[in-house]
Symmetry: C2
DNA sequence: CATCTTATTGACACATTACCACTAAGTCGC
DNA sequence: GCGACTTAGTGGTAATGTGTCAATAAGATG
């Protein structure tokens, strides 16, 4: 049955890196349609309260997440009469990045219906067109990192260069050369050392870095 | 006054190159709100007939244009309660490319309310948030060309390398070096010669080229 | 035929990158 | 204490890509 007004919703691909693999947050659906299948967190636009669709997306995350509001970026719009059996729907896709150390707070021990699923091989059944959404969001994120726009939002405030490299490798799905990686970082001037602050372990300590002032991940609105 | 359902519309920044300048199609509004101001062509989503918002965008173009359906690409979504005085609105922005030789068919002699406006200095008063839309669409297009994704849709099927370079220069707003430009083209293998076909003029003839089979401008959906 | 204009190719310095090797600084086991 | 081990961080060289400028090619024009 066709509706006069479309359903307008925001969906969010929330990424993090766990075990050196890029993962996306999925929720198992309780209700029909597609009960049992896994979907991205999403929310319907509430015109009375949402100042924009980004606001809607934040609300969708807040409903299932106890963490700081993460970095959000718009990816694309999916629309059509057949996407959702409930009627014509317009879904605005965002992606967001969550530092790995905050990931456990989201998918808590009890929550059997919450999963950080490895993007490289999504084994769970995916609801609606969310598999395509995840693929597109992943591609978009990769393009950013390719263009040397560092996914610092996947790390905590302080991090070592090796940690940053591992995160970039997880996003890209390939290994990167240490020497080249660091040379490019130097020329970018995007990072600054945290003087006297080292990560200690069973080997040589590693210098901590943080984002230089004025760092922006969303470089294309100019 | 807040509405229960948002207005959902598609707007299109239709680009072409005239006089070696990147230009965008603007229409002067007849009706309130913002009567007299210039706006991008747009259309409201009709759930009964539009298979997707891209469909809506094509319809918006068809209403004011007599030309072949051009290449369309999604840019971004603009949303909020204040964008349009008629109520909460969700506007999906597309951009499209039109070969320069088809541009006259759009802005015909009679049409005083249709203009190909130079993107570098938009002097006309722009309606709503369409100035921001034009800026974002332009940036997106430039990023593509920067990444060596050739805007072949701005040219007719056959073209010379100099014509292609002029078009890229118009998009980027800078001059490009002939030698470097051609070297990059060679390594890309995106073009093939049209054997024995030359543009003749008051000087040395120029080889015509066309897109190689498998050419795609929309490289990021992968 | 000399001249003018644009097309097309070439040469070279310079910057960037991939790839591999090296040194540095800590812990661990003995 | 000392050598083995592990990871951090730096260098070096060959290959590749780029910016700049110049040279040559192929027409029209007078």
């Amino acid at each position: 049955m066709k509706e006069l007004f479309p359903i307008v919703a925001a969906d969010v691909a929330l990424f993090t890196v766990i075990d050196e693999a890029l993962r996306v947050l999925l929720l198992q659906r309780d209700n029909e349609p597609q009960a049992g299948a896994w979907a991205l967190p999403g929310a319907l636009l509430k015109p009375e309260t949402d100042l924009s669709l980004e606001h809607t997306a934040r609300r969708a995350l807040a409903a299932k997440t106890r963490v700081e509001i993460p970095h959000l970026e718009q990816v694309s719009v999916f629309s059509g009469p057949e996407r959702d059996p409930r009627g014509y729907s317009v879904g605005v896709l965002f992606y967001a990045l969550l530092p790995a150390d905050q990931a456990p707070a989201v998918a808590g021990a009890k929550a059997a219906d919450v999963a950080w699923s490895n993007v490289a091989h999504l084994k769970r059944p995916i609801a609606f067109d969310h598999r395509e959404m995840i693929a597109l969001a992943t591609t978009r994120l990769r393009q950013k990192v390719e263009r040397l726009i560092l996914p610092l939002h996947l790390l905590s405030e302080k991090f070592t260069l090796t940690q940053l490299q591992r995160v970039c490798e997880a996003v890209m799905g390939t290994r990167l050369d240490k020497s080249s990686f660091r040379r490019r970082l130097r020329s970018e001037q995007a990072l600054v050392e945290v003087p006297g602050d080292f990560e200690v372990g069973a080997n040589r300590p590693a210098q901590f870095y943080r984002a230089a002032r004025g760092f922006r991940f969303d470089i294309d609105i100019e």
